[in-house]
Symmetry: C2
Subunit: 386 residues, 2 copies
């Protein structure tokens, strides 16, 4: 058994483009599902045109579409529709991330599909979902980062907000879609019928606000940006050391005690201003100043050794090359190499869903060229060329 | 059928505390699984002590633990261990987020459990996972935000990085854990045996870096913070309007055309500097200046009408009260009210996994008091009090 056996035997037909849908089907593929991308003839998935490129191939596309097959079909053309319907006959899951209403216009709305293929599971991701006043609007990641609240809480006080440096709007929607699809697969073993999962990027942003909604509801305090500080735990942020910043997360009294030992600052432990987390949080400005006075004497690397020795959660601020070089990341196969016939050997992220005792699959099939698997797919699903 | 039927009949025994584990089991509970929290006698889940509080109850705890039951057990006490083992006999899933090795010390390592309960699925979330040089270290959200790369890409150029305003380290791990557990549930219907899913918070941060790894690998450019700008698409950021900032995401040539119409700036469309996305991205400083000259004349509300009328993805920057008040959020039941016997009526986030045609469940059972369900659980699983 390997990591990529959990969904082995599951076939996914994937109409989705760019990020939320393809991120979900990548996750399904990493778990062992067979994913067949159905792309627009000529151009294919829009993200094939997103830079940066290497040897003319999009690295963006390549990073989200390994382990998938590709066939180009025009869903407005009767012959291609017949092929698409043959694919659906044998598929377990259909995924798309069009604006709501698009599939109905193509004659492939859920009512039609469910009647014709009762076991088919259907996953849709869109900006605002299948219902509500904004349903038919398009949204991109940045729009839902702004509307969903996370932007208002990211950045520094009294400065403009910062975007989360990755497309958290799309990616969170892709993860929730995968959760819904896997639950629907399990449910189908019980009920023998498929379900349609309707994921909205905005909904998913609201779902990950932690305690912000009940906390505001009961305290009336509006959560704002806090730089690198945590809203209720201290010290739990970045601090300046001799050469760079370090993250120290002394999240409770015991860890604070250990931290004062690592910093050789017993006075901080007995200081009445820092007795409890609540007091440390209240007096974080002065605590930060005291800590940084000491931290300035040594490098991040030196402090990491001292803090890790006593067991205080801490870490460096890694940029991407340092993430790639990290020994833990390497030991967990979280950066692996794909041998792409166009790009050549290229590093990409591994699969974070590890199955204990199973082989952790590190060989990914490269992202497909547009229509690359046409002949084999037609032979298998339509019987052409047999 | 309701949204919360997909996992109906599934029983989860939940040893997890604070966030990554409880976020996963909340997601499972929202999908219909029965979740029994097994908590330390006396104090329970650490997050019961996290502020802010209302009528003495943690709003943080309340936001992550609705729809769950609670029993207090000391896993070092033989009588409590016997009860715990009775729970495992009938459980489908066990979840914990201790440091790796803790369950082995308790005599409940995967080898032991798998031999005794071969159908049991086991989900573990930790900072660094079950293997690798950092495996035994504790980590908190802020540590993996720093080590995993997202911190290095969030904030403004030449300024200190900003923390993602929510605990993306824990939450992403909770989502991947849920994906793995649901896939393992499906897999068990095929293989008849359970699996252990090993999720590391750091792994999950690496998995969501989009194209950063292959892009750096092939271009050598280190992704850095960009304020609210997107690394490769323009205009796709916040802009200053008359009264506040607005998000405009004109992600392709067609949308840029529509945007120039909404702004009544046909000169921008014909300007050679803005002909393609690549050029707009290259000349974004001057494009932003040109756009803001026009945007300064009207309010965000006025521009949203103009942009939405022509179909350009756009939105306001909502703080939490505006998220709660948004009509789309309301229409999708993404903020719902829980009637908590201690807190009273309190707003919390809804379930973003919508099942089309099913009732969208808006009544959550409030988060349990410590040990609240002891008698009923003992009667059912151990036969005590029958």
């Amino acid at each position: 058994m390997s990591n990529s056996s959990l969904l082995s035997g599951v076939t996914v037909i994937d109409l989705s483009r760019v990020l939320a849908g393809p991120f979900s089907t990548m996750t399904l593929a990493n778990l062992g599902a067979r994913v067949i991308k159905v792309e627009i003839p000529g151009t294919g998935d829009d993200s094939r045109a997103f830079g940066p490129f290497h040897n003319g191939k999009s690295l963006y596309f390549a990073s989200i579409n390994c382990n998938k097959e590709s066939i180009a079909l025009n869903l407005k053309n009767p012959e291609d529709r017949a092929i698409f319907e043959k694919l659906l006959e044998k598929a377990d899951i259909l995924v798309e991330n069009y604006r709501p209403g698009t599939m109905e216009k193509l004659g492939y709305g859920w009512g039609t599909l469910h009647a014709k293929y009762p076991k088919l599971i259907y996953g849709a991701a869109s900006g605002f979902g299948d219902s509500g006043p904004y349903s038919k609007r398009a949204a991109y990641d940045m729009v839902v980062q702004g509307m969903g609240g996370v932007l208002s809480m990211t950045g520094y006080p009294n400065q403009p907000p910062a975007r989360v440096g990755i497309s958290i709007g799309d990616i969170t929607a892709g993860l929730y879609l995968t959760i819904g699809l896997n639950a629907a697969l399990y449910n189908r073993t019980v009920t023998k019928v498929g379900s349609k999962i309707d994921i909205a990027m905005l909904d998913c942003q609201v779902a990950i606000l932690e305690d912000a909604i009940p906390a505001y509801d009961k305290t009336g305090e509006i959560p704002g940006p806090l730089g690198t500080r945590h809203p209720s735990i201290a010290p739990f942020q970045t601090f300046a050391a001799k050469d760079a910043s370090i993250v120290i997360a002394a999240g409770n009294d015991h860890l604070f005690d250990l931290m004062t030992q690592a910093l050789a600052r017993p006075d901080l432990l007995t200081d009445a201003r820092f007795k409890t987390n609540e007091l440390r949080h209240e007096n974080i400005d002065v605590l930060q100043k005291e800590m940084e006075t000491t931290l300035a004497a040594k490098t991040v690397a030196e402090w990491l050794v001292a803090l890790n020795t006593v067991g205080v959660p801490c870490g460096p601020i890694n940029d991407v090359p340092h993430v790639i070089a990290d020994p833990q990341v390497a030991a967990r196969n979280m950066v692996i190499e794909v041998d792409d016939p166009v790009i050549g050997k290229v590093k990409t992220a591994g699969n974070p869903v590890k199955v204990v005792g199973a082989v952790d699959e590190v060989t990914l099939r490269p992202s497909p060229e547009l229509d690359a698997n046409r002949a084999a797919i037609l032979a298998e699903f339509v019987g052409v060329g047999k």
